[in-house]
Structures are given as structure tokens and as C-alpha cells.
């Protein structure tokens, strides 16, 4: 059934921003592949799709969904699923990924990745939705771990085991966001290396890195916000090295979505990722 396995190169990629279009084509530097947010390329035509068509001639493309609401209590939106299929059938991306999160409630799209309790009911629902996605798209998808700012009293699973069980039941792969691991571990007072140790690193198809903002909670404890608005933090680079020692070389993405820098700054972040790739 899955004729399109992951073909992203095991090197650095960046989240594509339209303002970098000309620079990427002229001076890609270390960047070997690009990731797009699926929902930005679901218009009928115009510059977004024309740019994407040209980029896809030069670079492997990862389609990263941010609006499917895989963890939603309601059914997946069939119209949105059809749009994803249309995009993937047109683009033939090297990879498709989405999040362990929900973002739609009833008729409202909330434009954020909202958290889930790790329970048997969530597990069953998420697996049903992933089965549906993989069947409609005709490809294996990757599922990304979230950033957590709180935890649910109702949870009966730890996150790495929960993700492993989803992957076992659905056959999906995993997108390991190392920044999210660090943010969640800091916010919840857990050990990020223990997370990596418990995680199915053999199922990783892609790694994400991004920058976080620092805040504090009601009692002054550190509260890191997954803002994608600054360089990757030093402890996240260290955690990346720890993860790469277990995964081996992987496609590594730099996500920089807010206060987007000029191209040389982003390309330099990608180069830092390349330097850490195991031989």
C-alpha cells in the first residue's frame, strides 16, 4: 500500500518561508530539503503554488500538516482530508507529517496545537484517525510529539510509550521534535534524556529543531514556550546529539516561523545541524 516511503535526505532542511524563495534557489548552502505547512498551499492558484512547483524541482519536500486535528474528539474533516490528498497527489512529497494534538472543535478552528490526555480512549481515537489518513493519502505518515505546558490527571500512559503504541497499531512513523522534548521536560519536571531512551528512535523519519521563549509559571518555575521565533537553544543542540547517537543520520529541520530572520541566519542554523550529523 505504501509506495512512497520516506525519501527526505538525511541532512538539514528548513521550514520554507516565501521571503526566502530567491535566496534558497540562489544560495541553498547546506539546505538539502524543505518543509511546508500544508494549509498554506491549499489555495486555488497564484504565487504560493507556483513557488512550490519550482522548489519541488530542486528540493525534496516535506508536507507538514498543522490543521488536521488528529486528536480531535469529532471525526476528521473529510473536506480537509480531501484537500491534503489533492496536495499530496499533485506534489508527491517525500514525507507527510502531522501532530499528536487537536485544533478543531465543532465548527471552530483554533489555530493552535492543543494537548491530549494519554488514555485508552485517546489512543483508540488517534489510531482510527491515523488509519484513515494513511488510507486516504495512500502513504505512511509521521506523527510529531507535542510541546506540553501542563499535564492531565487522567493520563495513564507516558508520552513516549503512547507514541510507540500508536506507531505499533497504525504502522505510522515518528517525527521527533527535540525542542518539544526539551520544552515539555522542563515544563513538567521530567528528564529529556529518559524521554529519548523510552522513545522508539528506530521509527524516527524526521527530526525537528526550533527556538523557545522563556517565561515562568504561577510559582516562578520555568515555563518554556515553543515559539519558533529564535535560534535553537544550546541544551537542545546537546539533546539533539544524544538523540542522533540513537537514531543515526536523519533529516533534521530548523523551524523558524516567527520573527523570521534573513536567509543567511537560517542557513547558518541549518549548517549547525549538519555539523552534528553522525558519520
Amino acid at each position: 500500500m505504501f509506495d512512497h516511503p520516506t525519501h527526505l535526505p538525511a541532512g538539514p532542511g528548513v521550514g520554507f518561508k516565501p521571503q526566502h524563495y530567491a535566496d534558497i534557489l540562489a544560495h541553498p548552502g547546506p539546505v538539502q530539503w524543505l518543509e511546508i505547512h500544508a494549509e498554506n498551499y491549499m489555495g486555488d492558484g497564484g504565487r504560493p503554488l507556483a513557488m512550490l512547483r519550482h522548489l519541488a524541482e530542486r528540493f525534496a519536500i516535506s508536507v507538514h500538516g498543522v490543521g488536521l486535528s488528529i486528536g480531535g474528539e469529532g471525526p476528521l474533516d473529510p473536506a480537509h482530508l480531501a484537500r491534503l490528498k489533492h496536495l499530496c497527489d499533485w506534489l508527491h512529497p517525500a514525507s507527510f507529517s502531522e501532530h499528536l494534538a487537536w485544533s478543531t472543535h465543532g465548527a471552530e478552528f483554533l489555530n493552535d496545537l492543543l494537548p491530549l490526555p494519554y488514555t485508552a480512549a485517546t489512543l483508540a481515537r488517534v489510531c482510527d484517525h491515523i488509519d484513515q489518513v494513511q488510507e486516504v493519502l495512500g502513504r505512511r505518515m509521521l506523527l510529531e510529539n507535542p510541546s506540553s505546558y501542563l499535564r492531565f490527571a487522567a493520563s495513564t500512559w507516558e508520552e513516549p510509550e503512547f507514541l510507540s503504541e500508536i506507531a505499533r497499531r497504525t504502522g505510522c512513523g515518528l517525527l521527533l521534535d527535540v525542542n518539544n522534548v526539551f520544552v515539555s521536560a522542563t515544563n513538567l519536571g521530567t528528564n529529556p534524556r529518559a524521554y529519548i531512551d523510552a522513545y522508539r528512535t528506530d521509527l524516527v523519519g524526521e527530526i525537528h529543531l526550533g527556538g523557545f521563549d522563556e517565561d515562568a509559571d504561577d510559582v516562578g518555575a520555568p515555563l518554556l514556550i515553543d515559539s519558533h521565533g529564535r535560534p535553537v537553544a544550546d541544551p537542545v543542540w546537546t539533546l539533539l546529539e544524544y538523540a542522533l547517537a540513537q537514531t543515526g543520520p536523519k533529516p533534521i529541520l530548523i523551524e523558524w516561523d516567527n520573527d523570521v530572520p534573513d536567509w543567511p541566519v537560517l542557513a547558518a542554523e541549518a549548517a549547525r545541524a549538519a555539523e552534528r550529523m553522525p558519520a
Binding site: G46, A50, L68, E73, H105, N111, I225
Partner: protein, 241 residues
């Protein structure tokens, strides 16, 4: 009520308590940690409006725009994950904000920006070239326009106000403007039409033939040159086809 309904309702109404069962690292109620999600949703939607309505935002100024956008966001969540379609109701909302009643042009500026956004994302189309325009087909055919093409009629000099707000033109003068939106390639282009041309365009867009739509004072050669240069015309449909 489902768990996500409770979460959603508290997310959208900061006056509600943090839902039960959401904890911090020590097992106490999540408190401010829940506000991260509230802020993410509210701020991301306000920023989407600011990015989508830059001239409207410039006319209001940063603080006023944020206050007004916050009110809109509270009442209007996106209806789709396609965020480039967020804000369709913003212009109508501005007409109902009482402190803005003296800025009668503002809703029209927002409406123009919305139409430009739709034009930006509209389907591509192959334009008709001048060699296909014989007098007979021109007069008897109905005109098919590119999906990006729009005509906006305003009681205000709306294109001039927008340009001024973006630092792209002088202080606006004059009254009503009719604005043709085209997309010759990838960027929407605004052209202010004189009234006879606007009436002609309007009639052609409703499917009238040129013979029926022609206005006495319309400068037809200039009009045809414009729509051809702007790649606005994509088909000529003869009555007998």
C-alpha cells in the same frame, strides 16, 4: 459535556476557570500554564488579521487595531484550517464597532484588502490574446474573466486611502472610487476606473455582451487595452457556441 468542549470553552473565555484535571508539574491546578494556550490562540488570530489587513491596521494604529481585532477574534473563530481565509467577516464587523463610526471608509479598506487576498489565491488562468479579438466576436460575445478579477465599488476613495495608509501614495482626496482588481501574474493590481468604465465592467461581469453593456461615455479602446494588459480576459463566449 466532553473534555474538549470544556477545554475549548475555557480557552475561548478567560473568565472561566481552568478546567479540572489539568495540572502543573507538582499536581496542582495548571493555572497560568493554561493561559499559554489562551494566548497562543488569541495572539495568533490577531496576528493573522494584522498580516491580512495591513492598511486597515496602519489606519487604526497598533494599539487601536489590537483592541478591535481582539474583539473580533473573541466572536469569530476561524471556520477552516486554511488561515488565509480568516477574516471574511472583518469588514462587516468594523461597520458595527461604534467608536469607529466616524471612520466610514475603514470597512471598505478592509473589504478591499480581503478581495485582494482572494485574488492572490485565485486559480491561474490563460488570458485571451489581442489577436483573438475581431470586431464581431467582441460585440456579440460574453466576456469570461480570470478568477482573480474583482470590481469593488466604494463611496470612498478606497484605493487612494489604502495606498496612503501603506506609505505608498499622497493624502487621499476626492470621493467615490470604483476599483478593478486584476492579477496579471502573481500580485494583485488595483486600477481605479472612471464611472462609465466601471459600469461597463460591472455589466460585462454579469454576463452581458459588449453591445448591451456599452456605456455612452466609456473609452472602449482604453478599457480593452487595460483588461488585455492585465491578463483579465480569459474567454469570449459567443451566443451561438
Amino acid at each position: 459535556m466532553t473534555r474538549q468542549t470544556t477545554f475549548h470553552d475555557a480557552l475561548r473565555d478567560a473568565g472561566r476557570p481552568v478546567p479540572p484535571g489539568l495540572l502543573d508539574r507538582w499536581g496542582n491546578s495548571a493555572g497560568k500554564r493554561f493561559d499559554v494556550y489562551r494566548n497562543n490562540v488569541t495572539l495568533s488570530l490577531i496576528e493573522a488579521l494584522r498580516d491580512g489587513f495591513p492598511a486597515t491596521a496602519a489606519l487604526l494604529g497598533e494599539a487601536n487595531f489590537w483592541a478591535i481585532a481582539r474583539g473580533f477574534v473573541a466572536d469569530h473563530a476561524p471556520k477552516s484550517p486554511l488561515m488565509f481565509l480568516y477574516g471574511d467577516a472583518f469588514s462587516a464587523y468594523l461597520t458595527r464597532v461604534r467608536p469607529l463610526a466616524h471612520l466610514g471608509y475603514l470597512p471598505d479598506v478592509a473589504a478591499l484588502e480581503w478581495q485582494m487576498r482572494l485574488a492572490y489565491h485565485a486559480a491561474d488562468a490563460s488570458p485571451v490574446t489581442a489577436d483573438r479579438l475581431t470586431p464581431e466576436t467582441l460585440l456579440s460575445a460574453r466576456f469570461g474573466f480570470a478568477p482573480a478579477v474583482r470590481l469593488m465599488r466604494s463611496d470612498w476613495p478606497v484605493a487612494a486611502i489604502r495606498a496612503y495608509a501603506l506609505g505608498d501614495g499622497p493624502a487621499p482626496t476626492g470621493g467615490a472610487q470604483s476599483v478593478l482588481i486584476t492579477r496579471p501574474e502573481y500580485d494583485p493590481v488595483l486600477t481605479v476606473l472612471a464611472e462609465p468604465q466601471a459600469a461597463l465592467m460591472e455589466a460585462l461581469m454579469t454576463g452581458q455582451t459588449l453591445t448591451d453593456a456599452l456605456q455612452p461615455d466609456a473609452d472602449l479602446p482604453a478599457f480593452l487595452t487595460l483588461i488585455l494588459q492585465q491578463n483579465a480576459l480569459i474567454s469570449l463566449i459567443s451566443e451561438d457556441e
